[in-house]
Every structure is written in structure tokens, then in C-alpha cells.
């Protein structure tokens, strides 16, 4: 009687926050009433106790136990469960003295912590999967020697994987690596030190000037002129990602070079090898599950945690994204439900108590797999999945059912080539769309392309990662497991069933696994178009909630479809006769490409450079003209929805602030809309503008600082602030607040907003409003009769424009000097 044998025993578990660990914890608490559990988790920021409460006991795995125990559930947890703060990537597991003492007095230690991702960076996989089991054994030995010399060593049960067999074909027996099939000369110690070296090499490679320049350029391409701190942060992130990618690549290459499909199987295999050398006097058993999938029956059919190996592939298939997946139809896909694995581990532990743990050095191996006695063929699985999704289709965003593709079981190479081609094509489209200065809905096209591309990339990733698992030709023997099964009496067989033959695959796939996967993926399973405005309305309501405190607005293309160059052109041409206006336009157009590239590079530099145009103009005159410009340029091109939004914020009692690189006299007429205007202003000497800025204009990260300062001064929380901007160069002011809103976003911002789930608004100039091609001011009375106009023209031609002549005079003087 397993439950009775284990009653009163102390069991430690590593990796309890994982899929198998959670199932194991729950099963022990529920089916072995007397045992006490010690869960080793990394303390993280919140501490080990908080972590096990949040990440383990809140999982729906415990729903059954919670309802069975009722009120006493909490009490039982605190009585029976203790958190050990530790980390399997640290020697000695980083245990405190007290926790080490607890470990030493355990009867069973189940090591299920692993880096299960098939594309972990090499060194990380080595630390966790290769060195982890030996570290646990070593920690047990040293804790035992320090605190519990009199007690017997606890029984260590190390969870490995059946895929340590690598790419071999045919029978894969339940024998140690060293005895059965370690195929290379590679020593695990050499692999460990090589992985550390690979990391430092990759890191060094990422720090060459060429690479750093590339990251910088990539960051700039992605974010535009967002300001140097943000660009620096992004570039560093890109560098770290690059190193990480290299490590993933290194892991994959090394694994494949040695005959394993990926870094996971390879590090797990070497981990077993290391453990068999390093476990010393600790009695040790090894349990090797195959692909663990959703629960067969316990705690409830279909229970699953995390997005596991088969799920992303299945969901991508159901969404029509994976048109093909490689595999051999008659090949065996070795799947085992999680509750069977948990039961097998508990049985191994119970038997260790009943019959004494295996003698040190013997290391029995139990494979928990279905392939040899109850095989599921890949072709059968695909048929089942296709059939099921034909009956229960997922729905696209238009509410139409998605037709699932027929798979033709092509070779992996062909699928990969297809996907690589799609990725390249989409990358090119993305680049083209990104280069054109679209705004608003058109810019969102680029966000959609980006999304398609990441979907294609993901699909490619699945094929590369999991392709080998559908092509596996190894047959995992379960002889040890079955002889263990034979020793169980009927009640134990009922309570801890791990016989792979109980699974009837069609029923399991159709009624247990797929419904669970679909629910878990939160896929759309009902027809009917989602009311598309719903989400937007919710986001808008959140932005316009009375609890918000501050709304910050950018000006150009956020509230008004105009910019500083246009304002300048308008002001400068207000007094010019027709011929001069044409000449002026031509000269400004000639300057345009240079200005544009400067603007893209650094907004502050651009403004500083451009505002020099105003040099020599009289401030009083500029201000008077700016008042006229307010009507004929700014208001005429304003976005009524935007102006209304400012006013709505005010009506709700929010403070409003305008942050713009435009000049003070230009934005002055907008003052009644805002509590505060932060803008550029120029130095004035004797009433004449010098063309030099008084201080740095509010661009890039300075905008974030403005909002932070204002919020601090008013005692506002940034989480309650709203920020509206249109361009990726405004990213800092969007990132700093709790409610960023992208208005008429450019392609880059549209992509980012979509990725981060930011609310997006499309604001347009008033429908029907006129938008002149060139922002030139009308002469004083344009609709006069021709003769009057001619007279006027002659008069005005004589007195050349104040602004232009002043500038020319100044330049002449400069040249003469």
C-alpha cells in the first residue's frame, strides 16, 4: 500500500512550479494524506513562500483538492508544505542552514527541475539539465554529513527524458546512458567548460565595434529618433538577444553534432551520465517520461499547465497557420499523460520505502512511455486532430470557421524551405511598407505584416524544434516499468495508475486532450463577428476614466496635421508677393530632403537647425501673424476628435499638458485647452528673434521627463496618466505613463502599439475641410479685383518681406565680416 508506506514521510521536490512538478505535488497531497512536502523553489523577488502560494497552489490543478478539503485546505497546506529557497544552478543549491537541515532529514527527493524548452541557450541548459541532478545529489550528501549523519540517505528520484536515447532507431532499453548507448567520447565535464567558454566568446563577439554599430542601427531603424537613452536600452537588448540566439544555435549544433535532436535531450543525457558518476552513496532511481501531455484522469481529465510541446503546433494547425508539418505517418509519436508519470514516480518512491532504496551504484531506470506497448501512430494522430477540428473549427477574426489543411507528411526540408521563403517575402514587404511614411490605418498594415511574419517565424520554429520528435524511430521499452506495475495490488493500481495501456488514444485525443488544448489556448471556438469596437471602446473608456489624473498631448499629427516647417512657410510668406512666394517655395523644397533626414536622425538637432530660419524676424510681428495662422493653418488642419478629446479630459477634471517642439508664439492661441504648455522658445534681443533656442526643445526622452516632473509636482501617479503621440520618436512620453495612446501612428509606432496592446486612435481633419497643397499664407485681400491686386503687388514688391530681407541683410553682413 503505497499511500500507507509514504505516510509520515518527508518528500522534497524540485521543479514544483513546472507541469510535472505541480501534478506531483497535488497528487501527493491528495492521494498520500500522511506525507510532508518540501518544495525547492527559487526565491525570486517575492520569496519562496509567496511563490509556491501564487505559482503552485493557485493553479487549477488544485481545484479538486480545494473542493474536497473545503475550509481546511489552507490549514492543510501550511501544515504539510514547506518552501525551501534554493536554486539548482548553484552549487549546494544555495540552501540556508535550516533548509539544508530539512533536506537532510527527507526520505525522498524528487528532482524534476529542468530547462524543458527545446531551445534554451546552451549554457543555461547545461547548468540546469546537465549539472542540476549532480548538484542535488551533492547537496544531499553534504547536508546529510553535516546535519543527519545518523539517518539513512534519502532516496533520490531524478526525472530525465526518454529522448536521452538521441537519434537512434529501434529499441531503446531502460538502461543507464553509460551502459546502453552513449555514443561519443565527449566527457560531460568538457561540455560544461565548453559551454561557459562559448558564452563568453559569443559575448565578446557581440561587443566588437561592428556588431555594436549594427545593434545601434537596428535599434534606430526600429524606434526612429526616440532619443538616446531609449535607443541605448534597445541596442543593449538587441545585443543580449543576439548573444542568447547564438547560445541557442550553439546548443542545437552541438547536440545535433553528437546525435541528439536538441540541446534539451543532449543536456539531459549528459546530466544522467554525470549523476551516475556523482551520486556517491545516495540511493538513486531515474524516471524517463516521453512527451508529457494533458492528464488522462487525475486531478481531472485534460488538466494541463503551460503551453507545452504539442499544443502550439496543434493550435497553429487549427488556425490554418501550419499548412504542413513534417513527419512519418507510420512513425510512433510517444505521448504519455502527466498523471501516469506522477503515479509512476510516486510508486518508485513508495517501493523505495517498502523494499529499501536501490543499493548505491545500481541506479534503476524506469521509462514511462507508450510507444512500445500502446503506440500512437503519427498518421493516426494527424487524422484524429484533423477530424476533430473539422467538427470543432476555430474561428478567424471575421467570425468565420477556419478550414484545417490536409497534411501530406512531407520531409522536414521542404516545409522549412517553404517557411523560410514566406518569412523572407514578408520581411521584404515589411521593409517596403516601413520605408513609406504612411500614417493611421495604412500604417497598421505594416503592423499586420509584422504579425504575419512573426506567425511564419513561429511556425518555422516549431518545425525546426519539434520536427525531429515526429520523425523519431526509437521505441522506448518499458519492461522495468511494467514489472513495477506487476507488483502492485488492485487498490494501488486504482490509486496510482501508470499503465500506458489504459489510454485509448482516439478517446484521449478527441475527448480529453484537444478540448483542453483549445480552452487553454483561449482560441475562438464560436462563430459570429466579435463586435470589433468592443475592445476599443473599453480602452477608450479606461483612458477617459475619472480616476485618470493627467493627459499629455503631442501636437504635430496628434492634434493638428501640420508641422514646424509648414508654420514657418506660412509665417514667412504672409507678406510676400506672388513671385517671391514661388521662389520661397522652391528654396524650401530644395532644403527638404536634408531637413527630413536630420529630423529622422535627431528631432532636437533638426529643430535647432531649422529655427535658425527665423533669425532677424521681429517677435511682435511674428506673434501677430501667428494669431492669423492659428485660424488659417492650425485650426483648419486640426483634428476635431483630438481637440474634443483634450476637452473631454478637462471636463473630467484631468490636467492637460501640451508637449511640442513648436515655438511658443505659434502655440500660444492653443493655451485655453491646456493647463500647461511645454514648447520651444527662441532668444529675443531688442524685440528681434535671434534664431537660437532658449533651452533644449522638448523632444524624445525630455518629453518623458516633462511628464514625470509635472506628475511629481502635482502628486500624480504616472500609472494614472494618459499620453497621446503619433510617432516612434515620441516613444519615451508614451512609455512613461500607464495609459499610452498611439494617434495616427506611423508604421513603427503602429507595430509597437499592436505588439504592446496600446490603444490606438485614428483622428482625421474635419471631413470636407480644405487642405491646400502648400502651406502658403493668402495675401491680405485675395478676392479683390485684379487691378487692386496688381497695385497691391507692386506696392508689396517694393517693400520686400521683413523676415526675408532681414535674413539676407544679416547674411551679407556676415559674409563681409
Amino acid at each position: 500500500m503505497i499511500a500507507e508506506k509514504l505516510a509520515g514521510k518527508r518528500i522534497a521536490i524540485t521543479g514544483a512550479t513546472g507541469f510535472l512538478g505541480t501534478a506531483l505535488t497535488e497528487r501527493l497531497l491528495r492521494s498520500v494524506p500522511g506525507c510532508e512536502l518540501f518544495l525547492l523553489v527559487r526565491p525570486g523577488r517575492k520569496g519562496a513562500d509567496e511563490r509556491i502560494r501564487r505559482e503552485i497552489f493557485r493553479n487549477d490543478c488544485f481545484d479538486r483538492l480545494r473542493s474536497e478539503r473545503g475550509e481546511s485546505f489552507g490549514e492543510e497546506l501550511s501544515r504539510r508544505v514547506t518552501a525551501l529557497a534554493g536554486d539548482v544552478t548553484t552549487d549546494g543549491l544555495g540552501l540556508s542552514e535550516e533548509d539544508a537541515r530539512r533536506l537532510a532529514t527527507c526520505d525522498v527527493v524528487i528532482h524534476s527541475a529542468a530547462a524543458v524548452s527545446f531551445d534554451s541557450p546552451l549554457d543555461q541548459a547545461v547548468q540546469v539539465n546537465l549539472l542540476g541532478p549532480s548538484r542535488v545529489a551533492q547537496a544531499i550528501i553534504s547536508a546529510h554529513d553535516s546535519y543527519a549523519v545518523d539517518r539513512p540517505f534519502p532516496h533520490l528520484i531524478a526525472v530525465s527524458t526518454a529522448y536521452v536515447a538521441g537519434n537512434r532507431r529501434g529499441d531503446s532499453p531502460e538502461r543507464l546512458m553509460s551502459e546502453a548507448f552513449f555514443p561519443t567520447e565527449a566527457s560531460w565535464r568538457a561540455e560544461v567548460s565548453a559551454s561557459t567558454r562559448t558564452r563568453s566568446d559569443a559575448d565578446a563577439a557581440s561587443r566588437t565595434p561592428e556588431m555594436l554599430a549594427r545593434f545601434d542601427a537596428d535599434a534606430r531603424r526600429e524606434l526612429g529618433a526616440a532619443g538616446s537613452p531609449l535607443l541605448a536600452r534597445r541596442a543593449e537588448r538587441l545585443r543580449a538577444d543576439w548573444v542568447s540566439d547564438r547560445m541557442v544555435q550553439a546548443g542545437k549544433s552541438r547536440a545535433q553534432g553528437l546525435g541528439w535532436p536538441d540541446a534539451y535531450a543532449y543536456t539531459k543525457a549528459l546530466g544522467e551520465l554525470a549523476l551516475s558518476e556523482q551520486h556517491g552513496p545516495v540511493p538513486t532511481s531515474i524516471v524517463r517520461p516521453s512527451i508529457i501531455e494533458s492528464a488522462f484522469a487525475e486531478p481531472r481529465p485534460g488538466w494541463i499547465r503551460g503551453f507545452r510541446m504539442a499544443e502550439p503546433v496543434i493550435i497553429s494547425y487549427a488556425r490554418g497557420l501550419l499548412r504542413e508539418f513534417p513527419g512519418i505517418p507510420e512513425g510512433v509519436i510517444d505521448v504519455i499523460p502527466v498523471d501516469l508519470v506522477a503515479a509512476a514516480i510516486i510508486t518508485v518512491a513508495g517501493r523505495g520505502i517498502a523494499e529499501g532504496p536501490p543499493p548505491a551504484g545500481s541506479l534503476p531506470v524506469y521509462q514511462v512511455a507508450s510507444g512500445s506497448i500502446n503506440p500512437l501512430r503519427y498518421g493516426q494522430l494527424v487524422d484524429l486532430v484533423q477530424e476533430w477540428f473539422s467538427e470543432h473549427p476555430l474561428y478567424d477574426s471575421h467570425g468565420q470557421p477556419i478550414e484545417v489543411p490536409e497534411w501530406s507528411f512531407p520531409g522536414r526540408g521542404r516545409v522549412q524551405r517553404q517557411l523560410v521563403r514566406a518569412d523572407k517575402l514578408l520581411a521584404r514587404a515589411e521593409k517596403v511598407v516601413g520605408a513609406v511614411p504612411f500614417r493611421g490605418p495604412t500604417a497598421e498594415l505594416s503592423a499586420r505584416i509584422e504579425e504575419r511574419r512573426s506567425e511564419a517565424k513561429r511556425a518555422l520554429g516549431y518545425v525546426e524544434l519539434y520536427g525531429s520528435y515526429t520523425e523519431t524511430e526509437a521505441i522506448f521499452r518499458v519492461d522495468n516499468l511494467m514489472s513495477l506495475w506487476d507488483t502492485l495490488d488492485a487498490p494501488d493500481r486504482g490509486a496510482f495508475c501508470f499503465d500506458p495501456r489504459v489510454v485509448e488514444w482516439p478517446t484521449y485525443v478527441r475527448e480529453v486532450h484537444l478540448p483542453s488544448v483549445v480552452t487553454h489556448a483561449r482560441a475562438r471556438t464560436a462563430p459570429g463577428k466579435r463586435v470589433s469596437g468592443e475592445r476599443r471602446d473599453r480602452a477608450r473608456a479606461a483612458v477617459l476614466h475619472p480616476a485618470r489624473q493627467l493627459a499629455a498631448f503631442d501636437l504635430e499629427n496628434t492634434l493638428i496635421a501640420s508641422n514646424v516647417v509648414e508654420s514657418y512657410a506660412w509665417l514667412a510668406t504672409r507678406e510676400l508677393p506672388l513671385t517671391e512666394r514661388a521662389r520661397f517655395t522652391a528654396s524650401l523644397l530644395k532644403e527638404a530632403p536634408g531637413l527630413l533626414s536630420l529630423d529622422r536622425h535627431d528631432r532636437g538637432d533638426f529643430l535647432r537647425h531649422f529655427y535658425r530660419h527665423y533669425e532677424g524676424a521681429e517677435l511682435a510681428e511674428l506673434s501677430a501673424k501667428a494669431r492669423q495662422m492659428f485660424t488659417s493653418l492650425l485650426l483648419a488642419r486640426s483634428f476635431p476628435d483630438g481637440i474634443r478629446r483634450v476637452r473631454e479630459h478637462r471636463a473630467l477634471g484631468h490636467r492637460t499638458i501640451l508637449i511640442t517642439g513648436a515655438l511658443d508664439f505659434v502655440v500660444e492661441p492653443l493655451r485655453p485647452l491646456f493647463d500647461e504648455i511645454v514648447c520651444a522658445s527662441m532668444r529675443v534681443e531688442n524685440g528681434v528673434v535671434t534664431g537660437e533656442l532658449m533651452r533644449h526643445p522638448p523632444t524624445g526622452e525630455a518629453r518623458a521627463a516633462v511628464i514625470e516632473d509635472f506628475a511629481r509636482a502635482q502628486g500624480f501617479s504616472l500609472e494614472e496618466c494618459v499620453s497621446y503621440a503619433d510617432s516612434s520618436s515620441d516613444l519615451p512620453m508614451l512609455e512613461v505613463v500607464g495609459f499610452p495612446v498611439a494617434v495616427n501612428p506611423d508604421a513603427k509606432l503602429a507595430t509597437m502599439a499592436r505588439r504592446r496592446g496600446w490603444h490606438t486612435e485614428t483622428w482625421r481633419p474635419a471631413p470636407g475641410g480644405s487642405r491646400p497643397l502648400l502651406p502658403l499664407a493668402p495675401g491680405p485681400h485675395e478676392d479683390e479685383s485684379t487691378s487692386v491686386q496688381l497695385r497691391e503687388l507692386i506696392r508689396r514688391a517694393r517693400q520686400a518681406s521683413a523676415i526675408m530681407s532681414a535674413r539676407w541683410r544679416h547674411r551679407r553682413e556676415a559674409v563681409q565680416r
Binding site: 471631413p767 470636407g768 475641410g769 487692386v788
Partner: protein, 528 residues
């Protein structure tokens, strides 16, 4: 001798009828038995307008001395004049206002008056542009006054520029432009395009504030003005008259000058617009064909600017000056003489083609609210006696009704359309729920005062203008209107007149009487 107005009964030989359709036209075949009301032909202009003006100033009506007798050195003289909303379309130079004001200024100069200020009597309308002022006043007056700041525009929101005169016996606040109220004499120069214009309404409305206007610009008053064109049955006018009498009693002196224009509304090349279709000459037909074909392929913005450049060949038919009520009585008779058409009996369905212009979109965009106002506020009210359409009848408008707004002139209209009309089309409900917040909104006030925007409350007034019609009618259908915008107004869109008549049959039965109001040129139906 110009022919009087005419009511045609459509028979099988009647050619299709011209319907205005914004910046375009439609030719519609009305069912046999329908009636079409045509305006009287233009009366002959005054042979010598300057002499007529001089004569009016020197021989005033009612209890008033001649203008010269009211002028003396050292006095404060304020000349107020109608703004850009009159006349429609804007008239060819010289504008009547400029002509009259020059005569007034001559007399002021002769009398040695040197404190003279001109005020555009905007009420809550948008400020006029320099070009519009120059056109209305003529270059001589404009250049003499504008550069020195003596040409001003009424600012109903200037806290220092408004003065409270008192309350009428009905408790109505009277607030006026301070400069005008504190002058020794106000000379008000009117263009009386329709019978509604002028009288005590000139000063009491044109130079007033929101506090004052709200007493008669509200749904209750509008519903009880049957119609605005009939002063004696118009609550709007009663209120203005009470205020005018209070102003007179408070010692403010007003010398009223009113002018009337003939119905010569469109220049030569658009002559077909003011002729009866069966009398079109070859030239008229060619003109119509050319215009309508060309307009079909013209972008709306271009068509708009073409139409708004039309200057009407209106000519002055009378001018009278002196005491307000005496002057207005004569003016009203003159307007009636030019515009009145006798119509016997009401109709089940009234159709009207709406042109590109209304008083509030001169040089601007006719937005959907203005479409409603022109149809139900103005054209519906072009009656004396009984409304042209019976109680519970149907009005069919023809206008493209684009979802378009002028961002500078009509900012509060945009918000009104989005926020108010999406909630309610009931004038009373919106006046209690929304009016105050729009009227007191600091941003709208800022735009009204410093830019060229109509006051925040103005779209409400446009809607109240329709209150009588909304109360009276069973259904409103817009032929060829943009469906989304038309529905927002609470009306029904129809793609053709035939569809509209079919839809109307739900309300007025299968065999309704139909009348078409063939305007502009403007007319006033005397319905018996």
C-alpha cells in the same frame, strides 16, 4: 412689368422641374396634379439708389428728425450693420451697406462728428474676415476705418464690452454691446432680404449677448413662431419687440435704416435658375446642360468654391429710415410685395431643393445641421397664414448632405453632431441637457472671440430653428443625402424622388397632394 408669383399645376406636358441639390441640380418629373410655386419676377431697381438713400435719411419715417438733425460735434456715433449672413448670395459690389454707410458718414462729417465706430452686428455669428468686411463696406469705408481700429465686430463674450440694460416685463434680460449702448446715437444699417429681418430684431439680437438671446432663441419660442416671416404671429418677434421697446425706454437712440432687394438672385450665366422651366430659351437649356454636366464631374470642394464665388445681381428696391417700428412696417410691406405668392390650401407633401448656401455657410461648408436648418428652419417657414404642408405631412428635401464640416467656422457643430445629435434630436431635451455646457465652454468662446468660429451654442439655435417644423411634420426625407448623416439628423434617406414619395406614402397615404417650393429665388407663400 414683372410678373407676380405663380402656382403651376403639373400636367403631362409640363417639363421636368429643377430641384436644387447643394452644389448640383436635379431635374425631377413631379406626378401629374402636383403644384410648383414660383417666386415673383424681380421688381425694378431704384433708378438712383444714392438719391433714394439721401431722401430716406433726410425724410425719416415715424417720430424721428432727419439724420442730420441727430448729429452734432463731440457726440459718439456708432454705425452697426448686418453681417456676412446677408444677403444671399453675397451681392455684387457695391454692397448696399457700403452705399448707405457712405451717405451716413457724409452727414456725420458735415456735422463735425469725429467719434465714429462701425460695428458688424454679429450676435453669435462668426467674425467676418477682412476680405468680407471690405466687400460689405466698400474699399473707401474699409480703408478709412479698419487701419485705425474704428471698424469693430461685435463680441458677445467680451466681459468689458457688454452692458446690462434691464429686464422686460416678461423677465427677459437685455444686454447690449457697450460701445453701442453708450453712444449718443446708433445708426443700424439693414439688408432686409426676408420679412424676418430688421425691426427691433436688428439691435436687440445683432448686438446682444447669449444671456439676452437665450430668451427668444429657444425651443418654446420657436415652436410658437408661426412663422418668423409674419411678425404678428411670431413669438420670436414679440420678444424682440419687448426688448426693443425697453432699449428705447432706457434712452438709447436708434436711427434705423432698412433696405429691400429684388429677387434678381443669380448672374446671367445662371439665368435658368430663376426662370420657369417651360420658358427656358435655347441659351438657358444650354446653360443648364453645361452647368450640370460640368458639375457632375467636379470634385465637391471645387464646386463649392465656384458657387461661393457667385455674386448676386440683387438690386435695391427701397430704402427707408427713421424710427424703428415705422420704418419696419413699410419695409415689411415692400418685402411682401416682392416675395408674396398666394397659395390656396395646404399640401400633404412639400418638396424643396436646397441650394449650396444658407445664412451660416457663406464662404464655408453647408454641414448637415445647416441642411436641416435651411430646409426646416428657413424654407418651411416661408409662409404666412398656414404652413404650406399640413399638420402631420411630409417634407422631402433634396441635398447631398455630406458629412462635412468647416473646422474653423463650425467647430462646435462638429461636436454637436457627434455628441448631441447622436443622443437626441429633441430640441427641448437637448436644450436642458447640453445647451449650457456648449454655451459656456471656454474653448468655443475663445474660438468665437479670436478666430472665425460661430459661438458654441449656435448649432443648438440651428436645431431650435427647426423646432416648429419638427413639431408639425410627420416625416422628413432627404433625397440623395448621405445616409449616415441623414439618419443622424433623425431623417430618412432616399436615393430618388420616386423612392421618397413611396416612403412618404406610409405617412400620408397613397394619393397625396404634392407641392414643390421652387426657391431660391426666395418667395413667401401666403397660404389660405
Amino acid at each position: 412689368m414683372p410678373r407676380p408669383g405663380f402656382v403651376l399645376e403639373v400636367d403631362r406636358s409640363t417639363p421636368p422641374t429643377l430641384f436644387w441639390y447643394g452644389e448640383r441640380f436635379r431635374l425631377e418629373r413631379l406626378p401629374t396634379g402636383s403644384r410648383v410655386i414660383y417666386a415673383p419676377e424681380p421688381h425694378a431697381p431704384l433708378a438712383d439708389p444714392d438719391a433714394a438713400i439721401a431722401s430716406a435719411l433726410d425724410n425719416p419715417l415715424g417720430d424721428s428728425p432727419p439724420l442730420s438733425g441727430l448729429l452734432r460735434p463731440g457726440m459718439r456715433l456708432t454705425i452697426a450693420f448686418d453681417d456676412v449672413s446677408l444677403p444671399l448670395p453675397p451681392m455684387k459690389s457695391p454692397d448696399v451697406r457700403g452705399q448707405v454707410i457712405e451717405a451716413v458718414l457724409d452727414r456725420a462729417a458735415a456735422a463735425g462728428v469725429d467719434d465714429v465706430v462701425l460695428i458688424a452686428a454679429l450676435a453669435l455669428h462668426r467674425r467676418m474676415t477682412d476680405a468680407e468686411l471690405r466687400h460689405a463696406l466698400g474699399p473707401r469705408v474699409y480703408d478709412a476705418f479698419a487701419p485705425h481700429g474704428f471698424l469693430t465686430q461685435h463680441d458677445a463674450e467680451d466681459p468689458d464690452g457688454i452692458v446690462h440694460i434691464g429686464e422686460t416685463d416678461q423677465g427677459e434680460d437685455v444686454e447690449l454691446n457697450r460701445r453701442a449702448a453708450e453712444s449718443d446715437l446708433i445708426v443700424y444699417v439693414n439688408i432686409n432680404l426676408v420679412a424676418m429681418d430688421g425691426g427691433h430684431k436688428s439691435v436687440a439680437t445683432g448686438l446682444a449677448s447669449y444671456n439676452s438671446l437665450r430668451h427668444h432663441h429657444n425651443p418654446a419660442t420657436m415652436v410658437h413662431s408661426r412663422s418668423f416671416m409674419d411678425q404678428h404671429r411670431s413669438e420670436l418677434h414679440s420678444s424682440n419687440w419687448r426688448m426693443g421697446r425697453l432699449i428705447a425706454a432706457s434712452g438709447i437712440k436708434i436711427f434705423q435704416i432698412e433696405t429691400t432687394l429684388n429677387t434678381n438672385t443669380f448672374p446671367e450665366q445662371f439665368g435658368f435658375l430663376q426662370k420657369r422651366e417651360w420658358e427656358w430659351t435655347m441659351k438657358d437649356r444650354a446653360g443648364f446642360l453645361a452647368a450640370s454636366k460640368a458639375l457632375q464631374h467636379t470634385p465637391p470642394k471645387v464646386a463649392r468654391s465656384i458657387f461661393h464665388s457667385i455674386r448676386a445681381p440683387h438690386a435695391m428696391t427701397s430704402v427707408q429710415a427713421g424710427e424703428v417700428e415705422a420704418v419696419h412696417a413699410v419695409t415689411t410691406e415692400n418685402v411682401y410685395a416682392q416675395q408674396m405668392v398666394a397659395v390656396s390650401g395646404q399640401t400633404d407633401i412639400l418638396t424643396m431643393g436646397l441650394p449650396y448656401i444658407s445664412p451660416y455657410n457663406v464662404n464655408s461648408i453647408m454641414n448637415p445641421i445647416l441642411v436641416a436648418c435651411l430646409g426646416l428652419g428657413y424654407f418651411f417657414n416661408l409662409y404666412r397664414g398656414k404652413p404650406l404642408v399640413r399638420q402631420g405631412g411630409v417634407v422631402i428635401l433634396s441635398h447631398p448632405t455630406p458629412w462635412a464640416f468647416h473646422p474653423v467656422h463650425h467647430p462646435s457643430y462638429i461636436d454637436f453632431f457627434e455628441q448631441v445629435l447622436s443622443q437626441t434630436t429633441d430640441p427641448v431635451a437637448m436644450s436642458t441637457t447640453f445647451e449650457e455646457s456648449y454655451a459656456r465652454d471656454p474653448w468655443y468662446i475663445h474660438l468665437y472671440r479670436t478666430s472665425n468660429a460661430y459661438h458654441g451654442v449656435h448649432p443648438f439655435y440651428m436645431w431650435y430653428w427647426c423646432a416648429h417644423a419638427l413639431d408639425h411634420l410627420g416625416q422628413v426625407i432627404v433625397v440623395g443625402g448621405e445616409p449616415r448623416a441623414v439618419r443622424r439628423l433623425g431623417f430618412k434617406p432616399a436615393s430618388t424622388l420616386a423612392d421618397a414619395l413611396e416612403m412618404a406614402s406610409d405617412t400620408v397615404g397613397r394619393d397625396p397632394s404634392i407641392t414643390h417650393l421652387h426657391a431660391p429665388p426666395l418667395l413667401l407663400a401666403d397660404v389660405t
